[in-house]
Symmetry: none
Subunit: 135 residues, 2 copies
DNA sequence: ACTAGCTTTTACATTTTTTTTACAACTTGT
DNA sequence: ACAAGTTGTAAAAAAAATGTAAAAGCTAGT
């Protein structure tokens, strides 16, 4: 709460980001840094969690590789290494230990997190249409 | 109690902390500065007790290294020394003399005290989810 | 000033996480 | 089907964080 008579710089007002993400298989507590799949707590490293958090926070939206790299690794980071992919892989594997795949690859662009719905027969992620993204 | 007409910064209002902590193996009297494990009184130094108290007072929550260092050692304190770890070690050892481990390491962040439950087969602390820091 | 007990430092060992590398497999446009 | 570009994978290397033992430094009480 902001005390009477005091002001706060716009920039410091925290974004109204949701505190947690939740669907039929996954629950993420962005604040406490915890994630549960089908009730099982995921053991994630920092980078893995950041990745999951960024993707889930933009569920349904494509997050370009560049954006992920810039936000998670900072401005530098050579494109020629497979660092991002390796982290995606490890994250996917940990999620699939208890649940269904929810991170799809958008060829040539980046990754997209898809909300899981129990009623759907299956998430068909086999291939994904390419999407143009605003620069 | 805050006198009428006065204000107090949110941060300085003391939390309504309980006088003692208690679970199936450990009992801590924050006021008297005593701790019992399975009925055995622990012989703790001041720093060790402060550490245990801070962690137990936040049971289930991760307490970052920085917070522990700031609160127990004051603002200064070089990050390059192993002081905190050494105290954690000695505290853990004393607790385990009579009981089960209850202080887990959260890699890259800090430590977390976990309430002991007699019904649980075992506390599996092997590894722990990491916490991401909100950008 | 001396001692006993507590605290901090130091120097490594160990563990965990992150990055790199080399190559395989896959997409897409032609 | 081919070529070019992109992503997936496994394993190893590198980096970062934590654990440990021993010694040195402090401090309160005498």
């Amino acid at each position: 709460m902001i005390p009477k008579g005091e002001t706060m710089a716009i920039e410091t007002i925290p974004a109204p980001m949701k505190q947690l993400y939740r669907d039929d298989q996954l629950e993420i507590d962005f604040v406490r840094g915890q994630a549960l799949v089908q009730g099982n707590q995921l053991v994630l490293t920092r980078k893995e969690f950041e990745l999951l958090a960024m993707l889930a926070a933009n569920e349904g939206e494509i997050v370009p590789r560049e954006v992920l790299m810039k936000r998670i690794w900072g401005y530098s980071m050579e494109i020629r290494t497979r660092t991002l992919d390796v982290h995606v892989r490890r994250l996917r594997r940990k999620i699939m230990e208890f649940g269904q795949p929810c991170i799809e690859t958008v060829f040539g662009v980046g990754y997209r997190f898809q909300r899981y719905r129990a009623d759907r027969q299956r998430q068909s992620f086999s291939s994904v249409a390419c999407v143009a993204v605003p620069a």
